[in-house]
Symmetry: C2
């Protein structure tokens, strides 16, 4: 198997001014091609130290991927140093120069003369077009070894890697790995693992449990010569997981429960409203993160105080007096209230103690009630996270309330 | 100046399963001590490759800080390999073993025998107590060089570095750098830079402009022998920035505008309510991210549809028909409406096109109106971000609406 090293160039990384996300992105993509990554290295904008790092990397590995330091200023040295160390000469390309000039023209910005440094490309190398900036990337091959140079900004680097570098590296591909995530809410990681214990022992595909705040997921990764075969290996295992844990599964490769909820409501032409106490807008915010959410979500009420719960949602004063604002009874009346006020098909609600403190003596932060109210239907769930982390508790409470929507829709679909 | 390399150990980093945030954290902290970082290296859980990386790092640098690979399983090799390469012998510490046992007892979890691997410490080294996990860290010094080993999980690593490793590295400290961020909203980065052009030329403290979504900030970094002297150098420059750009400044070292708004309202005993269309809960969510926000924020209305704007906030149908839902007029009536419904001292509102599309022909995503309504007071601001990025537009719109609160309070304070 081909061995690769990833080299990030930039003093700003060594000062801690920026977080190196490129190395992680490249590592993931290379793993999917069956290319082994043995090392990540970051060095500053210093020619000697960069040259040393390039020599070391090639002494150990087949492929070196360098990112960053392709800008127009004199401290951008990656192109010169890496090409020189790998034995490639740079030459001025008038074609590249024209592309850079027209990039600035399109943006309506004056181009500094400096920018033409980015028009130098390696003789005998391959140029990777930059659709999101001015610095082209480049690839070179020599004596079975390979050098790839990519710009530093992630929004330039990532699409260029996928579109240009992956085809350039095709000969090093050992396999294709496809991964899918089966995401669940309402079951713990260890219970999910117990339910799928035999699957976790498989070798291809592999099944591995992971945790995210308030949810557990299983990642199914299949390895084969091509993507189609890998997908065929993965599919029956994903189906089996859904077969066993279906009541908790909210999506495969879903981008959070909010995405699944909006899609499910759209499909059925139903609308939702939310009444939030401790999550205070987090449910509404997450639903409306999804473009087009306006088709299913018209109204949210953030009722942080008891007075506002009573005044805007019609929660009964006696309910709060008798059971407390953080109670199943209050959650129910909030859900019913927001459904009535909004005219939506269903109302969901959350009330709880977000933390760090509990606000009420004898109660713990992380105690949360969520409810869903619909025609002839009401569910309420109690949740105790045992944590004092405000962001965690709020996120998990919002997720749990959203999961009630899918629970309700599943029951409706069965009827 | 002492030169340091940071070595991260863990195959999960090379697979791209986790993002290496430790190196960034350590780089920042070392920069504040005047210790130069020349390289970040990540290697997997492989003894030969780790040993090679340790030897290389010490051949170039005075200090090596290794993180990760201190766990209880056989593939956790950092302790053994690093100590051996640096010439320190490990020995079993019954004191450490007792600490590990009592950690598990406190958590009420059975301890696996494996965990006692974490009780081995270097003979002649310094042990760093782990208050957030079981693996102690360690520091060793020899012939002017220094090895520091820290656990991988960031919530264990970061406090241990600050509490134990910083004092251990004190002799390498060249200086103390203190940094403060003056944060602004409502002025662009280039205008802010123009307003402070002479300050940006200073050498100590340095002043550098940065951009965050919807805001510009100036970072003032002063270098001196000790923190007190550095603070004395920074202070007049910070004061001068506030003097020049005060109307845009919302805080120094503030953790976002929401923190400044909650603090300012608390101080004055005033309350706020929010009516949100395109931000749809983001304002409420951000305000209530701040613990104790319940003292100043009781009520938020997410009015995504026109019907709900009319029904719950009392926006006039004619206003929407004549001017559109995304208009100054609608924003004003929303702010007034939520103040009336909630009984709060002031109401703020947002209506706009979040993107990626504009929903209305001829209108661009990123067109946003925000308003604030209070007794005998009304402001409305129009914003055109020129972007289609939904998250960006929503974040910036929420920030801008929150900034109206500080604007209002400043005028009240003057009167």
């Amino acid at each position: 198997m081909a061995v690769c090293e990833i080299l990030s160039v930039g003093t700003e990384i060594l000062l801690g001014d920026i977080l190196n996300t490129n190395s992680r992105f490249l590592s993931r993509k290379l793993a999917e091609m069956g290319i082994t990554v043995h090392r990540h290295t970051s060095v500053g904008d210093n020619p000697e130290r960069l040259a040393q790092a390039v020599r070391e990397a090639f002494s150990r590995s087949d492929i070196v991927i360098a990112t960053g330091g392709l800008g127009p200023t004199p401290d951008d040295i990656t192109r010169e140093v890496c090409c020189r160390e790998f034995g490639f000469e740079l030459e001025f390309s008038s074609e590249q120069a024209d592309k850079i000039k027209s990039y600035f023209e399109r943006k309506g910005i004056a181009m500094a003369e400096n920018n033409l440094r980015q028009a130098y490309i390696p003789k005998g190398g391959t140029v990777f077009e930059n659709r999101n900036g001015t610095a082209p990337g480049m690839g070179m091959k020599k004596n079975g070894k390979c050098l790839v140079i990519l710009p530093g900004p992630p929004y330039e680097m990532a699409p260029m890697f996928t579109q240009c570098a992956v085809p350039f590296l095709e000969e090093y591909r050992a396999c294709t790995i496809v991964s899918h995530e089966v995401r669940t809410i309402g079951i713990g990681e260890s219970s999910l693992a117990a339910l799928t214990a035999d699957l976790l022992e498989m070798e291809n595909p592999t099944v591995a449990p992971y945790c995210k705040p308030g949810e557990a997921l299983l990642r199914v990764s299949a390895r084969a010569r091509d993507a189609e075969t890998a997908e065929e290996l993965a599919k029956p295992v994903i189906d089996e997981i859904i077969n066993r844990a279906g009541e908790y599964v909210y999506g495969v490769d879903a981008n959070g429960i909010e995405e699944s909820v909006v899609a499910a409501l759209k499909e059925r032409g139903l609308t939702l409203a939310a009444a939030e106490s401790c999550t205070a807008g987090y449910i509404a915010k997450r639903i409306t993160d999804i473009p087009g959410a306006s088709a299913v979500f018209h109204c949210g009420m953030v009722t942080y105080s008891n007075d506002i719960k009573i005044k805007t949602l019609g929660v009964k004063k006696e309910t709060i007096d008798n059971y407390g604002a953080v109670s199943e009874e209050t959650a129910r009346e909030m859900a019913a209230g927001v459904r009535r006020v909004s005219g939506a098909d269903m109302g969901i609600s959350v009330t709880g103690f977000a933390g760090p403190d509990a606000d009420e003596p004898g109660k713990a932060p992380g105690l949360i009630f969520t409810a869903l109210d619909a025609e002839n239907f009401l569910i309420c769930e109690k949740l105790e996270t045992g944590r004092t982390d405000r962001e965690y508790n709020r996120y998990v409470a919002a997720s749990r309330a959203l999961s009630l929507v899918l629970k309700y829709l599943k029951r409706q679909d069965v009827q």
